[in-house]
């Protein structure tokens, strides 16, 4: 008994040093030397300013301004609207505003839940309002599911190709580009499947939008 206690205490301390200090520091050292970009979150800079991470989704909505030019707030949160010049990410329900990457959360919407249906309807309505003026034949039944359903992390950096193709009509019109040019950009920023067969192809929204800005200039 006594011997077990001594050995256990020593074992916990030694294993904590080995697995809790040596091992993570070793991995940190190797990664910072071999893969610094990946290990630090694939930061994306525009004109020296950090605009996000390549693999963390973000919102492309813009603050709604009041008449005096100040951003409008409701209950302490910024009021935002979709910026039609940019491709829009999937809906996100993180707390403290959409795409809060300091507090990831599931939306926990059940499959047989009225709330889920209502949220889906609201998102579909907004998607139609945003895109139908530029793509007159668009109906709810044609909206790809990823454009309406929240993702698991609520930080999904990608949208489906179908979703991008619909939004391309709007973005092309707003930026004075041909649909073909925007579709070509989409193709360039569509990721391939893992190992060639696993997962789904998706369009990285941040990279696509930055490529558009490089082509036609940003908002500011």
């Amino acid at each position: 008994m006594r011997r077990d206690i001594v050995t256990s205490a020593l074992a916990i301390v030694l294993f904590t040093v080995l697995l809790g200090i040596v091992y993570p520091l070793l991995i940190t050292g190797v990664s910072q030397v071999a893969f610094p970009g990946d290990a630090n979150g694939q930061k994306v800079y525009v004109n020296g300013k950090l605009v996000g991470s390549k693999i963390i989704g973000q919102s492309f909505r813009r603050p709604v301004l009041e008449k005096n030019g100040k951003p409008k707030e409701e209950e302490g949160e910024l009021v935002t609207e979709a910026d039609p010049r940019y491709f829009q990410s999937r809906p996100s329900a993180t707390e403290g505003g959409a795409y809060n990457a300091a507090a990831s959360t599931f939306s926990n919407r059940g499959p047989n839940d009225k709330v889920t249906k209502e949220e889906d309807e609201a998102n579909a309505k907004e998607y139609l309002e945003l895109n139908k003026p530029y793509d007159a034949s668009l109906t709810v039944a044609q909206i790809p599911v990823d454009a309406v359903n929240t993702s698991a992390s609520n930080l999904d950096p990608e949208i489906s190709q179908a979703n991008a193709w619909i939004q391309a009509h709007r973005v092309a019109a707003k930026r004075g580009l041909s649909l073909g040019a925007v579709d070509a950009l989409i193709a360039r920023h569509t990721d391939s499947r893992g190992l060639g067969f696993t997962g789904e192809r998706g369009v990285n929204v941040l990279e696509l939008n930055l490529a558009l800005d490089r082509l036609t200039g940003g908002t500011r």
Binding site: I27, Q32, F106, P111, N112, D120, A152, L155, G199
Partner: protein, 590 residues
């Protein structure tokens, strides 16, 4: 459903089997003390560790002595982890390791979390990036990710030794087993795996959280941390506790479809290899193949059901007028709570992989799975995690089922049941029955208590929940009793921490009940399993005769599947009817 989806599932099963075969051989050598290719490198540190620990590693322990060492070791780990988590904002913690100044979670959440990580459950009543400091994550949680996994593997190795023992009562030495498990199995794979993960975009740093200014004029705060070193052992040790709140759905934990595939392999590789190790150690590899066949059969059954159900879409989607069939550029399906890069197949497969094992990591929201899709993890948990199962726990639980199946088979043909040359008698059968009943008992009893309590009733009948409200509660205790850790995360025992960084807020009854369930359902079966190992070790071997029932052929495999399904169904069917079954049968919205 797509061809690529089915291909992913088939390729996964194939690559897993091809990887597990050599690892099983390797592990058999590790646990029988043979030299392996890592021995020249690790022999010295191994001997040094024994000396520093003052362990009598050469002494064979009987089951009681083995269990005593294991329990005291786990208790020591529990106490240290609790202390680390409760002092994460204390004066002696350097600012660089707590850049956001997080306070500790209160005692109730910490009791639950500590019990959770020491029992290999990793149920989380907190959100990682809003509660835990980098120091707590690596010094506390990462360490128990290794150790709790190691303890499970030790028990499996001890049981197999008991089965093959020819003389005496020794079932190995706990200190030798735990040291060899960490040094020869978990650590080498973790180091390689972590580097692979970082190369694909899993982060590994100690930076403060980033603030980005987006092109549309918003700001975004982005959590950072030493993720890869914890991510790899979280999968490999079938732990499942996410660095971030959304676990393996978070792009920094699981950035690509490739990492998703790789992480699934990490989860199942050891549980699968242990089955082959068993076959090798008992001197008849066909024994391992038979058990492996049973596990793979049930596993694939679950995957197929989940994939079809999720690809079909949910009633809520259809009611909102969405079309969920595949179109050009989108596979459709129930994408609520799923990531685009994994798609339906990658999410359904991951879900089954982590609920057949005790991993409990998630890359999609189980709460948002369809009724039938969500019934699959229920079924996996109801089978008490013997379909591969957790590292070690899966094999020893399945071997207890084998014992029961041999016994039932023996009754059917009217002979004294024999297994691998050993007569099964009253003591072993009693103990196996007991071990198999502990987990369901804990799960059902705790669910009953929870839904009868004041807070629990509110949770079940919350507006808009319907049968899902009961599903959440049942799943919460089923998950904790099976040391799984996945959740229908809408369960209101789960209180999100305030964004104000003041730690998680707990519901004491849920925290304490859950914590006790995890401890009881982990260490109860472990002690009983070791007792079975001890009982078997002391038996003399009788030669195999004409009347011996074979346990390495298809007939026995079918019998084993029947026993697993029957025990699980008889125990849980009434409870499952109230939740997932009702939900799956109706297209009704609540």
């Amino acid at each position: 459903m797509t061809f690529a989806g089915w291909l992913t599932i088939a390729a996964f099963a194939l690559i897993l089997t091809l990887g597990a075969l050599p690892l099983g051989t390797y592990m058999a050598k590790v646990y029988t003390g043979e030299r392996v290719f890592l021995s020249p490198l690790l022999g010295r540190p191994e001997r040094l560790l024994y000396r520093l620990l003052r362990a009598e590693e050469a002494k064979e322990q009987d089951w009681k002595s083995y269990a005593k060492s294991l329990l005291i070791f786990s208790l020591a780990g529990w106490l240290l982890l609790y202390a680390i988590l409760r002092t994460q904002s204390a004066f002696f913690v350097p600012h660089g390791l707590n850049p956001l100044g997080f306070h500790s979670a209160p005692w109730n959440v910490t009791f639950n979390t500590t019990s959770s990580f020491v029992t290999n459950t990793n149920w989380q009543y907190y959100g990682g990036e809003t509660t835990m400091t980098y120091l707590s994550q690596m010094l506390g949680l990462t360490v128990q990710n290794f150790l709790s996994a190691g303890v499970g593997i030790c028990v499996a190795a001890a049981l197999v030794r008991g089965i093959v023992a020819r003389t005496g009562k020794g079932i190995g030495n706990f200190w030798r087993d735990i040291v060899r498990t960490i040094l020869y199995v978990l650590l080498p794979i973790s180091v390689l795996g972590a580097i692979v993960l970082v190369s694909q975009g899993v982060i590994q740093n100690f930076s403060s959280y980033l603030t980005a200014h987006t092109v549309t004029g918003l700001t975004q705060s982005i959590a950072m941390g030493p993720v890869a070193s914890q991510e790899v052992i979280k999968e490999l040790g079938t732990n499942g506790g996410g660095f971030f709140n959304v676990n393996s759905a978070h792009p920094f934990e699981n950035p690509t479809a490739f990492t998703n595939f790789f992480e699934m392999l990490l989860v199942l590789i050891i549980p699968a290899a242990l089955v082959f190790m068993y076959g090798r150690m008992v001197g008849n590899r066909r024994q391992g193949y038979a058990v492996y066949g049973v596990m793979m059969f049930m596993f694939l059954g679950g995957v197929i059901v989940a994939y079809i159900a999720e690809a079909h879409g949910s009633p809520a989607q259809h009611a909102a007028g969405l079309h969920t069939h595949a179109i050009a550029g989108s596979t459709g399906g129930n994408m609520e709570g799923k990531e685009q890069r994994f798609g339906i197949a990658g999410s359904a497969l991951f879900d089954v992989v982590t609920t057949v094992t005790s991993c409990g990591a998630v890359n999609s929201a189980i709460e948002s799975f369809t009724g039938i899709g969500g019934a699959v993890p229920f079924a996996n948990l109801s089978a008490s995690e013997v379909i591969f199962g957790g590292v070690g726990t899966g094999l020893y639980s399945m071997l207890l089922y084998v014992l029961i199946a041999v016994f039932i088979g023996g009754l059917m043909v009217g002979r004294t049941p024999e297994w691998l040359g050993k007569k099964l008698e009253v003591r072993e059968i009693k103990l196996s029955g007991l071990a198999i009943l502990i987990t369901p008992l804990a799960a059902l009893f705790a669910t009953a208590l929870a839904v009868a309590s004041h807070a629990g009733r509110a949770s079940v009948s919350a507006l808009g929940k319907g049968p899902q409200g009961f599903s959440e509660s049942l799943y919460a205790y089923l998950s904790q009793a099976n040391n799984n850790g996945s959740a229908f995360a809408g369960y209101t025992g789960f209180i999100q921490p305030n964004a104000g960084n003041i730690g998680a807020h707990g519901v004491t009854s849920a925290d304490v009940l859950g914590g006790l369930v995890m401890l009881f359902a982990r260490f109860g079966p472990i002690v009983v399993t070791l007792a079975v190992a001890g009982a078997l070790a002391g038996k003399r071997v009788t030669p195999v005769g004409l009347g011996t029932m074979r346990t390495d052929n298809t007939t026995f495999a079918v019998l084993l599947i029947g026993v697993v399904l029957l025990v699980g169904a008889l125990t849980f069917f009434p409870a499952l009817l109230l939740g997932p079954v009702v939900q799956g049968l109706t297209g009704h919205l609540y």
